[in-house]
């Protein structure tokens, strides 16, 4: 990577902000507030504690639903990938769940189970689960049978086989499911909060939509993007690097 290329990410971000500032200056409208205005709103919301409270509520929902969807999806995906009969039986179910619009599951969960936290989490999990299952199922199908035979021949325990033989092979698929999962889940959570919760970023966006307050909408959106980027750079990328250290 050349010296110039190192500055590309910062440079492209600066160009984006400058273009936004320029467009806001030309339009001169409340519908497109300038980055400076949005930064001001961001700062005020942060000082008042509103931003951290609502962001925190959304993050807790994200962590819980993400963990449940990943754990459940990985187990089911692995089972379907390794068992042809099971896969043949449940394949149609998967196709159905993959194609149900997120909005429908959210509404049905609220109608059937009430406007509760559990319903909100369940709705997010149901939306994310099929994607995790499909990704892990593909990974499980590509597991190296030679290595599994080696593990069996040397009588490795199930736990050791899972941990040392299967898991490292599934890792790229897990990372793919994690990244696409985070991107999908936080978008669904916002709708879940918009429709049936009284806190969270989605709830706030709904409130500011009713007030036509675009600056606040953008401030909350940016806060969430910063959090997701933080997760990517402080957790996912180091994890990726650690697990790939054996490659040349």
């Amino acid at each position: 990577m050349s010296k110039l290329q190192k500055f590309f990410p910062a440079l492209s971000l600066a160009v984006f902000v400058a273009a936004w500032q320029g467009a806001a200056w030309v339009l001169d409208s409340n519908l497109l507030p300038s980055p400076v205005t949005v930064a001001g709103v961001f700062w005020l919301e942060l000082l008042s504690g509103q931003l951290t409270y609502h962001l925190g509520s959304t993050l807790i929902r994200l962590i819980v639903s993400f963990a449940v969807a990943m754990l459940l999806g990985s187990a089911i995906g692995l089972a379907l990938g390794r068992n042809k009969n099971l896969n043949a039986f449940f394949d149609n179910w998967l196709v159905i769940f993959l194609n149900i619009p997120a909005l429908v599951t959210i509404i049905l969960c609220y109608v059937w189970f009430g406007l509760s936290e559990a319903s909100a989490i369940l709705a997010v999990v149901i939306n994310k689960l099929p994607n995790v299952i499909v990704t892990i199922r593909e990974g499980a199908r590509t597991l190296d049978q030679d290595l599994l035979d080696m593990a069996r021949c040397y009588r490795l325990s199930r736990i050791n086989t899972l941990k040392h033989v299967i898991w490292p092979q599934l890792h790229p698929f897990m990372m793919s499911a994690t990244r696409s999962g985070l991107a999908l889940i936080w978008k669904i959570i916002l709708i879940v909060e918009l429709l049936g919760r009284n806190n969270g970023v989605g709830f706030q966006l709904h409130l500011y939509f009713q007030l036509f307050d675009v600056a606040s909408i953008l401030a909350y959106s940016i806060a969430f993007v910063i959090v997701i980027q933080g997760i990517e750079h402080t957790i996912l990328k180091p994890l990726d690097k650690q697990s790939q250290r054996w490659r040349r």
């Binding site: 080696m150 050791n160 490292p168 054996w246 490659r247």
Partner: protein, 249 residues
């Protein structure tokens, strides 16, 4: 070291079921072999005769057959170390970690150190398999198999696709290790010279459905096995005296 006993292998029949256009076919028929404790036995047969199938049955990787594998006078299956054609090392674990994995938490630091030293791999114990040559990877696979102190060692053409000098070096290291830890070995090859250089006993196999067509003891003293002329003389004598074996090879 595990207490060694004779091992009995009996495969009355192994049939591969029909697949697509291919009809079912018997891979092994009436195969019965007793391996004496500490004996180095080479299975020699033409390609595709069912040697790997037999090893997979013995290793319990293939359970769809009629027969039984057991330690003599016991019902238990023997503890097996298997050296596959492809070393089958886990690329995300270092050499040492690959060996330690099959020990499953058992503290065998001294054993692993000894095996690494004998196979001249101490320097590479913290290296990932991708950085090893094929010959070195094969040596790691040999160490892994010896590390569990097996009652039976299976080796499926472990020197195939190595260049002759490397194959010779790995073979000598294997023999050195086996002299120090004389486990019962079942070694598959289609190279008669290699088999004579290694084995106490040669078992000749027919083409599919595989059965035993010859069981010959190698009479060359072990300290003369380095001599290519001795090996060649034994080979000629063997083939001249058994034309039915000559036809197979």
């Amino acid at each position: 070291m595990a207490q060694v006993s004779d091992i009995q292998i009996e495969v009355r029949q192994k049939v591969y079921p029909a697949a697509g256009q291919a009809a079912p076919h018997a891979a092994i028929q009436d195969f019965k072999l007793t391996l004496h404790a500490g004996e180095f036995v080479c299975l020699v047969g033409p390609s595709g005769c069912g040697k790997t199938t037999l090893l997979n049955i013995v290793a319990d990787l293939d359970q769809d057959y009629d027969g039984e594998i057991r330690i003599a006078r016991q019902q238990a299956r023997p503890k097996i170390g298997y050296i596959f054609q492809n070393p089958r090392l886990l690329p995300w674990r270092t050499v040492r970690q690959n060996i330690e994995l099959v020990l499953q938490g058992r503290d065998a630091t001294e054993t692993v150190d000894f095996l690494l030293e004998t196979m001249q791999l101490t320097r590479f114990q913290h290296v990932y398999p991708e950085r090893l040559s094929l010959g070195m990877s094969r040596r790691v696979a040999i160490i892994r198999a010896f590390a569990i102190d097996p009652e039976l060692l299976l080796m499926d053409e472990p020197f195939v696709s190595l260049d002759p000098p490397t194959a010779r070096q790995v073979r000598e290291l294997l023999l050195e290790l086996w002299r120090k830890r004389p486990h019962t070995v079942l070694f598959v090859t289609h190279d008669l010279r290699e088999a004579i250089a290694l084995a106490d006993r040669l078992i000749f196999l027919s083409p599919s459905p595989m059965s035993i067509v010859g069981d010959i003891r190698v009479t060359i003293p072990r300290d003369l096995r380095q001599d290519e002329n001795e090996i060649e003389a034994f080979r000629r004598q063997l083939l001249d005296g058994a034309p039915h074996i000559k036809q197979l090879l």
